[in-house]
């Protein structure tokens, strides 16, 4: 009758299974977790009892003793407001409200909305999830765009609600990596932290990617080349620009017109307009990412320039936007999914061996030639 009550009421516990199988709790636990040797006959009996009772281990109880949750925080970090001084007007970071209170915000302008407007994050999620899933780890989505949100992330980890964090930072000067590192919480970053910290990360050799783009443009015969850079307060933006300028200089083009964008299509359009006004004769453009390259293509066409005949355009990332663009974009591929998976791998390694020192893995970009250049 206890069984009857059980099946009707609360979820079955280890105790119930043990009783049903005629063994002790410990044995059931051993069978379930596949640890130590258990007599095959008993194993069978336990499995039988498990399926009869419809038992599912209670995660909270397990976590309480193992100190593991099999969950990791996947946090998108950035700044909602936090002035990002340095760069002046073109900071590309709209000023939203950012109090000490949890954000009640929603809609178009919210941080979360902006984040997912970029296909980049979807790719990160894909890479992370595809790696974590077969390993039984679940990602908890978090955003850390304000001081309040950052504290929440740290608290979340300290509470042991997640075993570690995968942090994708959209901004330099992001305080989160330092916070997490100081607290000694296991974490891995996407992109090198601005200030060095004892924390692992994966990154791309942005300069090499920009070099690839420059060389391709040059090899194509372009001679009046300009670039639409990403935001200059983001390392990726800086590095791509620097690498591009560097290579161009080495090939005898010490001066390259630059228009700063904000990694969005609209900002790419605006930047292209500016470039076109000041340098109507340009015949090649390297954009800091595909979204901006797409915007550039639109503007070029609006101005009667054919891509690639009149102006060659190269993007960066090889995101979905690159293939969707007309013409399809020649672009520098960033293997985001692989990088995200590696990030997850580094974190899991670290969790397995807490003493393991921080490491970094740098990926090499490749040129994907399509129609735009």
């Amino acid at each position: 009758m206890t069984d009857a009550l059980r099946s009707a009421g609360a979820a079955p516990t280890l105790e119930d299974v043990a009783r049903a199988a005629g063994v002790s709790r410990a044995t059931v636990s051993r069978v379930i977790n596949g640890v130590r040797n258990v007599d095959p006959t008993i194993q069978e009996a336990v499995r039988e009892a498990v399926s009869v009772t419809g038992y599912t281990p209670n995660r909270a109880a397990r976590s309480l003793v193992t100190r593991r949750t099999d969950a990791v925080a996947l946090v998108v970090s950035g700044t909602g407001v936090e002035p990002a001084e340095g760069a002046d007007g073109a900071d590309g970071e709209p000023h939203t409200a950012d109090g000490g209170e949890p954000p009640e915000g929603a809609g178009e302008g919210s941080f979360t909305a902006r984040v997912f407007a970029d296909p980049f994050f979807g790719r990160v999620v894909t890479g992370v999830v595809d790696y974590l899933r077969p390993r039984g780890i679940h990602p908890v989505l978090m955003f850390a765009e304000s001081a309040w949100a950052r504290d929440e992330v740290v608290a979340y980890l300290r509470q042991g609600s997640a075993d570690g964090a995968l942090i994708v930072s959209t901004h330099a000067e992001d305080p989160l990596p330092a916070l997490v590192a100081e607290a000694g919480l296991p974490a891995v970053l996407y992109a090198r932290p601005t200030r060095p910290a004892r924390i692992s990360y994966v990154d791309l050799a942005h300069r090499d990617g920009a070099r690839l783009a420059a060389e391709h443009l040059l090899a194509r015969g372009c001679r009046r080349i300009a670039t639409i850079s990403g935001p200059l307060d983001v390392p990726a933006g800086q590095d791509r620009l620097a690498g591009f300028q560097e290579t161009m200089a080495r090939h005898g083009h010490p001066y390259i017109p630059v228009a700063e964008g904000g990694f969005t299509q609209e900002s790419g359009e605006a930047a292209m307009e500016r470039l076109l006004t000041e340098h109507p004769g340009l015949d090649g453009v390297f954009a800091g990412n595909d979204l901006m390259a797409t915007g550039a293509c639109h503007v070029l066409r609006d101005h009667g320039r054919k891509v690639p005949e009149d102006v060659a355009v190269i993007g960066f990332d090889d995101s979905g936007a690159a293939a969707a663009c007309r013409p399809p974009l020649t672009t520098v591929r960033q293997p985001v999914e692989d990088m995200a998976a590696e990030m997850a791998r580094l974190l899991l390694d670290r969790l397995a061996e807490p003493d393991r020192p921080a490491t970094s893995v740098i990926f090499e970009p490749t040129l994907v030639v399509r129609a735009s250049a």
Copy 2:
């Protein structure tokens, strides 16, 4: 000295705080959870002790007793393979490697990758997160594209790893809603389930949206109108088509050429090509979503048709793709973020009052007029 050891070693517990404040565990708990009256002086002492010890409540321990995790599963459900055309095979479950094994898959073709290729999901996440965050609830991202994955989701919920589920189904004949409903697990769906189930959902009045599009095209003077439908095994695809045909019929256009697409840009391109071959004279197109509309615009331009002068194009969703398209798309807006937030609200309501009956909330679409029609 105990304190010294504490601060160096393990995380402080309630016990530590209690000792520091000179009260009992129960009192500290009361202060932290703000339940019952506690003397203001003692409250202050406890808060002080909390900050001195750097205490953070352990979530697992709390969950163990409260039976709440303050986490919800945000699950994207669907089937491994997209096409499912013909829609005859009725089973809706295309045959993928759908064994008992966890998927090790990754990259371009993986379910997760395809999911995030569509801006739609980013918007759902945005809506959900923006609603949940201020309420201290965290979303755990899950995918349920195979029998294995579905079982995992159910197990996850049964384990009490999450308090409930928000399910976004990409496919009709998706078995997950039924599984979850049967198990009596709290859940809310995005889009009405194919087979009615005792489960709440939010949805859009797709037919009304399609009517808006039809009327706009007609009012514009289009007379040779065709449509690119979404996949016909998805309710949203069916309803939008049906609503469109219905309205057109009512206005004296009983026959409307239809090309079925798969909600992707490429499928929109292919469908447009087909339409153009068979009906070169068409002057208006309604696409089942913005991605396909964007593809249609590309193809139309490739064929020398000006949008909207020669052919008017209307999309559906008002996703980021609509504004990014050249020309910007006139489209039927689906307030995804609001709908997602509502979905979260319904779930939280249900968790607060478990007996509350299942409800549904239907949103009305609106027409957003831009340049393409």
